[in-house]
Symmetry: C2
Subunit: 212 residues, 2 copies
């Protein structure tokens, strides 16, 4: 499942998009697809797609193309979606609750164990089927259940300290919505810093460019 070669960052960033498109194709009932057709659909070149897939050994067949089922399985395996990873969410404010209620964690390879919040009025409530527990029990829970990653939907100022404490307690990845840029890669802990404002600023810029 794991390939030897170091895979470039550019390729890794395209993997979720490949996976998403393959899932869509499957839902549409498509059973096989050529690099050419997939390229057209995704706005890439056929060459790039073949190069990308071949970083992982290549799972196509000459004269036929790529089998959609196989592609989905391989990409899923590469992304580690079947690894049965677990997560906790910290901070059940508006954004936290929006994720609890709406976001399909399992589609991205995670089982969400529960949420934590300091507000006692939220403790014991459930959102999207996920229980909110008291923050005071967080580290005891992490020590015992050993979730792989933590979703940070707490206020920004608390982020750096909490992140380090979580790493000390064995957390192996962070999905960080706090707005604070966290970098724990040096500790071997990957972080996905989500900056919605960056996305909206880019849109602001692009809208301005169009009228030029």
């Amino acid at each position: 499942m794991e390939r030897k070669q170091e895979v470039s960052k550019a390729v890794v960033q395209r993997l979720p998009r490949y996976y998403r498109n393959i899932c869509e194709l499957k839902a549409e009932g498509v059973q096989r697809i050529s690099s050419r057709a997939l390229a057209e659909r995704m706005g890439l070149t056929a060459s790039q797609i073949r190069q990308d897939f071949n970083c992982f050994g290549g799972f196509g067949q000459q004269g036929y193309g790529y089998n959609v089922d196989k592609l989905q399985e391989e990409l899923g395996a590469i992304l580690g979606l079947r690894a049965g990873r677990t997560a906790v969410l910290i901070g059940a404010g508006n954004l936290g609750r929006a994720l609890l209620n709406n976001f399909d964690f399992s589609a991205s390879g995670f089982k969400l164990l529960c949420a934590f919040d300091a507000n006692q009025e939220l403790v014991g409530k459930k959102f999207g089927g996920h229980e909110v527990r008291s923050s005071s029990t967080l580290f005891e829970f992490v020590d015992r259940r050993k979730p792989d990653v933590a979703v940070l939907t707490i206020p920004r100022t608390h982020a750096p300290d909490l992140a380090h404490e979580l790493v000390d307690h064995g957390i192996r990845g962070l999905w960080n919505f706090t707005g604070e840029d966290l970098h724990l890669e040096g500790l071997g802990v990957p972080v996905e810093n989500v900056h919605l404002s960056d996305s909206l600023m880019t849109l602001c810029h692009l809208v301005g460019m169009e009228e030029a």
Copy 2:
């Protein structure tokens, strides 16, 4: 304000991050910074920063560095944050309400005019100071008030049709949370497709890589 040269996509994608870091420096009371110091802070090279800023004419001074105030103003102008753009949000479900309640649209250059939802129970309510109006009045509103962009927080299936209708009514950009990839660049309408699941899948992959 607008520069002649075509600026590469890689540079444009870094602009919001530059702006964010400059704002932080200003908040910390820093008045000037060298490309070297900024590079260290952001995990880039000094060379890259100078190259990037020089795409827009260069706003530093030899022997001194970059003035933080000036940098903030210039980057803000390039991003178009002072252009007074307006937005409407469509779909006041969980995610829509999370944005209404928490997200600072003005920090990204937009004034959010109001929200729309088909659910009559939400119509008339306010979230984060933003009124929810009936979907049936959406196009009349867009025709009259001419918002620059629409924030799509509706169910995925409705996205493509609504997007095209909005463009017909003069919408000039989309911030798209529906999960459906929208591409209207051919019509001169930039779209920012936000895929939170891509981000979490990437994290899943990276966590797996660390243990290899």
